[in-house]
Amino acid sequence: MSTTTDSIAIDRDIGNFFYNVAATRDAGVGLTEQTIDYIVDVKKEPEWLREFRKNAYHVFNSKPLPTHWAGDELKEIDFNVIRYYLASGEAPKRTWEEVPEDIKRTFERLGIPESERKFLAGVEAQFDSEAVYSNVKKAVSDQGVIFMGSTDALKERPDLFRKWFGRVIPTGDNKFSALNSAVFSGGSFIYVPPGVKVKHPLQAYFRINAENFGQFERTLIIADEGSEVMYMEGCTAPKFTTATLHSAVVELVALPGAKIQYITVQNWAPNVFNLVTKRGLAMEEAEIKWIDCNIGSRLTMKYPGVVLKGRKARGEVISIALAGDGQHQDTGAKMIHAADETSSNIVSKSISIGKGRATYRGLVHVPKHLKGCKNNTECDALLINANSRTDTYPAITVRGTGNSTQHEASVSQINAEQIFYMQQRGLSEGQAMSLAVNGFVNDLVSQFPMEYSVELKRLIDLEMEGSVG
């Protein structure tokens, strides 16, 4: 690897640049038991975790690729050429001044320190495998809120961490949750004490900087009784010629009466395989809301879910997927009703451009013995070109007499007369498309925090303007 620091190649997308940063901790290429030993040793992890990881490694090997779902694209991933752990070996810094120059510059270009000053309660910035910066505002930590990298949490709060780790998403949930369990590193850990309402959002930013690399962060958020927290994550990677893998596991635990809102705006380069498992556990009268925006990547497979475990728990998934030419967004939601009077709401909007493909996969499960459960599912697809593709696979099983579900789906295409109308008012074809797409997702975007809705609009503009000559 060369050591020049100014080899920047900027494309139209914001994340597509990189500074060469040499990692001193490198698990090498490919995945074997030795890779896991290396990670455990370098991170100085306890023995139970070594066992946990090795077990997960075997589960990963035993499960076939889910090609029957997303298709043969998954076969393009060569697990033997991927690097599973890359880090500097340094602990995350509390101030940006302490962060190494090139890494700091990377996050400055992505606007992270600026957002932190303006509106965030805390920030964690992950660079490849580990957090390089982690800070939470004093007013928030004084309330007893814990916000740190999961690597640190394992050491500093093993009691809290181990109690919930792997409880919402077991290792064997799917092939990629097993992979994550085997090699996870980084991710956020949040604990909000009973009754504490965190006013401003906590944010994590996941940056892949290296080629042939796999990022496997593990996030665990526990909101204790009656507390409230909003967490946002952003992700980017430069555009490399070879495939990059991002495979996270995110577990949320909302104890009775707690509220968790989890917002993702991802803007992956078009060669990233993004295979993520996200699920929350909502106890009595708790509420979990996933807001998920999937832009970019070669293939995304992600179905945020909520297990509605306590009476009157509420779950919500709001998702926007934009499948550009040659991309496949296979996204959706899972709602597992496991208590009376639980309710869930799914609103999914997808946009397919060119040969882009958007798939909605939904699972709603209400068993027979429950009473007073409600689900509402709405999925709308917008096709930009005649060769764009969308598929909807809703699997709704609602049994029992006192439960109800409502499902609506629509597919529309931007028509030439609409574009002509907007062009007649002076907008270029790209601007017209972009306006139509922004209009299509407008009712969902208006639920985002202001800063994120602006960011999302900008990403849609870039994507649409790039899609017409």
Partner: protein, 255 residues
């Protein structure tokens, strides 16, 4: 003074020739009415001027201040000052009227320049008042769920905000009751002046009671068969279109 010159225009849609040698000139400061029975090619004229991709010009020219616009994209024609009020305005779900107008005005500014939001709203409210449009209208999605009258008023509002050099109003009177017609006409009358040339395309004479044209042209079978002053419209009203159909085309210059 600016002018549009249409010279020996032939236009086909899906290989069928709709306009067959039409010539017409108009300038800023003038109001021209183009009248004609259904199927005479009136709406085709509006669409081909605006650059609709389905309409092929097989012969002839359209010049704006001496420059051919035929190779220009619809948006470039618009930014050069050509506006068309649609007979059937399109709905744009999720995009508010205010945002749409802002985007259209922003598209006219040089790169890097931002539209002044306060000035924009002041001007927007002033034009809305003129057209009896309520404030809440700005937040509604463009034409979505609008009545026929609201859609047409919205077209005139856009016209007022974009301040084009030339405006082609394609059957703006169709589907309007008399009150809505009066409001639309009032809007157009406040916009008229030395800085704008207006081409009113209409089937009925009724609109011309409220917007008085300087010139009237009658279209039949894809060409202009008769041109004259505003009294021509009244003559058509009493005699119908049939008496003109058989006649050979006559050219009466607009200037």
């Amino acid at each position: 003074m600016s002018s549009i010159v249409i010279d020996d225009l032939h236009v086909s849609v899906a290989d069928k020739e709709i306009i067959q040698g039409l010539s017409l000139e108009f300038s800023t400061g003038e109001i021209h009415a183009v009248m004609g029975p259904n199927g005479s090619g009136k709406s085709t004229l509006a669409k081909v001027m605006a650059g609709h991709p389905d309409y092929q010009v097989t012969r002839g020219e359209i010049l704006m201040d001496g420059v051919s616009i035929l190779e220009m994209e619809p948006d470039e024609r618009s930014r050069r000052g050509l506006f068309m009020a649609f007979q059937y305005p399109m709905e744009i779900p999720g995009v508010s009227n205010a945002n749409f107008l802002r985007a259209a005005l922003q598209a006219r500014l040089p790169e890097g320049e931002e539209l002044d939001a306060i000035e924009f709203y002041q001007r927007l409210y002033q034009k809305m008042d003129l057209l009896d449009i309520r404030r809440e209208f700005t937040g509604r999605a463009v034409n979505e769920g609008f009545s026929g009258g609201e859609k047409k008023r919205n077209e005139i509002l856009q016209l007022a905000m974009l301040e084009p050099t030339f405006a082609v109003l394609d059957e703006t009177d169709s589907g309007l009751d008399i009150d809505a017609l009066k409001v639309v006409a009032k809007g157009v009358n406040t916009i008229c002046g030395p800085g704008i040339g207006i081409l009113l395309i209409t089937h009925y004479q009724r609109l011309l009671n409220y917007i008085v044209p300087d010139f009237v042209h009658v279209m039949s079978e894809g060409r202009i068969v008769r041109s004259g002053g505003k009294e021509l419209a009244l003559e058509l009203e009493s005699k119908g279109y049939d008496w003109l159909k058989a006649r050979k085309p006559e050219t009466v210059g607009a200037n």
